[in-house]
């Protein structure tokens, strides 16, 4: 139940939220920088934990609805409280996380422990005052957006207008207003009239970071469609479609599986978007639909292992990807608790491993190398010794700083770059 299923920094990077398979959300907060060590960034400690979703049962279809948190998205902060959206397969919830560090004392009609006083015993009046108390973080559900998705929700994305957000399942995308829970607008519907003709599903969707009318959604066929909500109410017709022709030399039984896009993320600038399929990460320029501008192979050595990966279901793993704050580096996960970073400017890539042995506090991560040829050099790891049960599917990069959060199956690792 404590398998991490999503990781997300808030807009300032001060808070880091994780969701797990048991429906819980754990929020970490960065400690303020210490005056003694100004070069050292604050550590992340647990700030709040709450149960977001519970298992449910659909009696009509005799189906259990998993409580696993598929996605968390933070809302931009408007007041002292923080808001986030969390979703499982069917229901999205808006949570308010607020702090309480004062409490009123000196009521006239109540004792300090809450018991009511006999009004006849009140002889004097006093004004209650606020006294400091131990910090208490409260999470309360403010909205529940339910019953709008027949299929499993895979994405939520908050619009730049800060009023609406979208939720996407396998076949439909709905547009919600954050204040309205009993209605949503369906803006994309790819369900065919005859389900026998189903050829692709929606795998991810995201709003443009600046243009409130634009969003993209990726498909299991490896295509990305950009839609403009100004063009029509129903965005079944895309404004742009991004697709790279398949290399016929790489055709195999599993071509469709490995071309399915598992994640799509806009760059912070809004000029580019990144997609993750099973073996690679691709950067697309929104102005060019014919092919990506950059392609990075994450673990090409797995191409010859697809049969085994199909058998053990690993080929269906959905890896996510993320940008750093200035869009110069992208990061994604792999197996054996490896994660990869690709520097777009310097055209360099590096592989790190997230493990307890390699991650002692203040120690520097050592780059890892995988041996793909016959001879294995020292410190290289052979492909056959990779542990496919240890996978990093979820990663997040601090929006402003070089701090990353990497989720293995049960653990969360937070790394920061070394400051001189």
């Amino acid at each position: 139940a404590d398998i991490i299923s999503t990781v997300e920094f808030n807009h300032t990077g001060e808070l880091l939220a994780t969701g797990d398979k048991g429906g819980r959300v754990v929020i970490f907060q960065q400690e303020p920088e210490s005056k003694n060590q100004p070069q050292c960034r604050g550590e992340y400690n647990v700030y709040s934990t709450f149960q977001s979703h519970e298992p449910e049962f659909d009696y009509l279809k005799s189906l259990e609805i998993e409580e696993k948190i598929n996605k968390i998205r933070w809302l931009p902060q408007k007041n002292a409280a923080q808001f986030l959206l969390s979703t499982n397969d069917k229901t999205i919830k808006l949570w308010k996380i607020s702090e309480r560090d004062k409490r009123p004392e000196g009521y006239n009609l109540k004792e300090e422990d809450g018991r009511y006083r006999d009004p006849n015993s009140v002889t004097t009046l006093r004004v209650p005052v606020l006294r400091p108390m131990d910090l208490m973080v409260e999470a309360s559900p403010r909205r529940v957006f339910a019953n709008a998705h027949t299929y499993h929700i895979n994405s939520i994305s908050v619009n730049s207008d800060h009023e609406t957000y979208l939720s996407a399942d396998d076949l439909r995308i709905n547009l919600w207003h954050l204040e309205i829970t009993d209605r949503s607008f369906n803006i994309v519907d790819i369900k065919p009239a005859n389900m026998e003709e189903l050829t692709e599903v929606i795998t991810a969707a995201e709003f443009h970071p600046d243009q409130c009318n634009t969003f993209v959604y990726s498909s299991s066929k490896g295509t990305i469609r950009l839609c403009d909500m100004r063009a029509s109410a129903l965005c079944d017709q895309h404004a742009k479609m991004f697709e790279e022709p398949e290399d016929p030399n790489n055709r195999s039984f599993f071509s469709e599986i490995i071309s399915s896009i598992s994640d799509v993320k806009f760059s912070h600038s809004g000029r580019y978007m990144m997609t993750r399929d099973y073996l690679s990460v691709k950067i697309w320029d929104l102005n060019m639909e014919t092919r990506p501008v950059e392609t990075y192979q994450v673990h090409e050595y797995l191409r010859s292992k697809l049969c085994s990966l199909y058998e053990n279901d690993c080929i269906f793993d959905k890896f996510e990807c993320c940008w750093n704050g200035n869009d110069s580096v992208v990061m994604t996960g792999s197996y054996n608790n490896f994660f990869r970073m690709f520097d777009r400017d310097y055209r360099q890539d590096v592989t790190f491993e997230a493990s307890r042995e390699n991650s002692k506090p203040r120690s520097v991560l050592k780059p890892r190398k995988i041996s793909t040829g016959g001879k294995r050099k020292k410190d290289e790891i052979s492909v056959d010794s990779l542990d496919f049960n240890k996978k990093i599917l979820h990663t997040a990069w601090h929006p402003l700083d070089n701090i990353i959060a990497v989720a293995t199956t049960n653990n969360l690792y937070i790394f920061q770059d070394k400051l001189n």
Partner: protein
């Protein structure tokens, strides 16, 4: 040859995945099952292409033995029908000579890499398959009604498997005939009903899970789905007059959700037997060459 066995193995694995997905917590994953059907289709196309090549190479005096083996394979088991009853596969008839089992192959050395793939994959040996044929074959109650599915590369043929009556039907150009029934519970009634049924729009069999939306559920505004729902409702109401209500509930529950209700109906089935007889049924279906339609019906 190794790759052909790999294709067969892939089909077996894929069917197993589809079967196990029906009991997964959280319901059937549409995305994953769609991808599995693509693998099924690819493996089947490869298998068919290899098989047709082999058939061409087979000397004439071996035809009788091949036919006999085919006749054995025809004895479909009810377990296969229940396993794959709501799954079809589009057979577009496109065959490729460049298939390989997941490895990147240069066109110059296909056989060598096929051998490598064979070692990577678990393979069922042919002798095991023959054992399964002799041990696990059911006798069908009504063999006289069988029609040997003909190799038909035309598109207007569809195989439909009914969970309730265990009737396998093939629709050819809008008409259907019963291929096989195993331990029929209501064979005649079901078959006759389906005779009438099949002439109607085949989309009857796809029951939209949204059919279950209660009235008070907020309906997304922009998309007016009332027309589609009305059509489905009309079809279902007219059909219910003809069909036994038990048939409908079973069929709907299977096709609509793959939920517990349909699982209960065949949970008595020995799963070992199901897995053991997959190979036979696969061979039948593959050799029959009957067109498969889309592989996922349960949504």
């Amino acid at each position: 040859m190794e790759c052909a066995l790999d294709a067969q193995n892939l089909i077996s694995i894929s069917l197993r995945k589809i079967q196990s997905s029906r009991t997964q917590r959280g319901g059937i994953k549409l995305h994953k099952n769609l991808l599995v059907t693509y693998v099924l289709r690819n493996a089947r196309q490869f298998y068919m292409s290899k098989n047709s090549l082999q058939t061409q190479r087979t000397p004439p005096y071996e035809d009788a033995a091949v036919d006999h083996r085919r006749q054995e394979y025809i004895e479909l088991t009810g377990s296969f029908t229940e396993l794959a009853d709501d799954f079809y596969c589009n057979f577009t008839g496109v065959e490729s000579d460049t298939w390989h089992c997941g490895a990147h192959q240069s066109s110059a050395q296909p056989s060598e890499l096929a051998h490598q793939d064979a070692t990577a994959c678990a393979m069922a040996s042919p002798s095991d398959s023959e054992l399964m044929v002799s041990e696990a074959c059911w006798s069908c109650a009504d063999k006289s009604s069988w029609e040997l599915p003909i190799l038909n590369a035309q598109a207007n043929q569809k195989t439909v498997l009914d969970l309730d009556t265990h009737v396998v039907t093939t629709v050819t150009n809008g008409y259907f005939h019963s291929d096989c029934c195993a331990q029929p519970k209501q064979p005649q009634a079901g078959a006759q009903c389906y005779t009438r049924k099949r002439k109607m729009d085949t989309s009857y069999y796809i029951v939209d899970p949204e059919f279950y939306l209660p009235d008070f559920v907020p309906v997304p505004c922009k998309r007016m789905r009332s027309e589609d729902e009305e059509d489905d409702d009309d079809d279902l109401q007219s059909d219910s007059e003809q069909l036994d209500s038990a048939n409908i509930s079973n069929l709907i529950s299977v096709l609509g959700s793959g939920g517990l209700s349909e699982f209960v109906s065949w949970q008595q089935m020995d799963l070992e037997q199901i897995f053991g007889t997959q190979t036979i049924c696969l061979k039948h279906t593959l050799l029959a060459g009957s067109g498969w339609t889309r592989a996922i019906e349960a949504f």
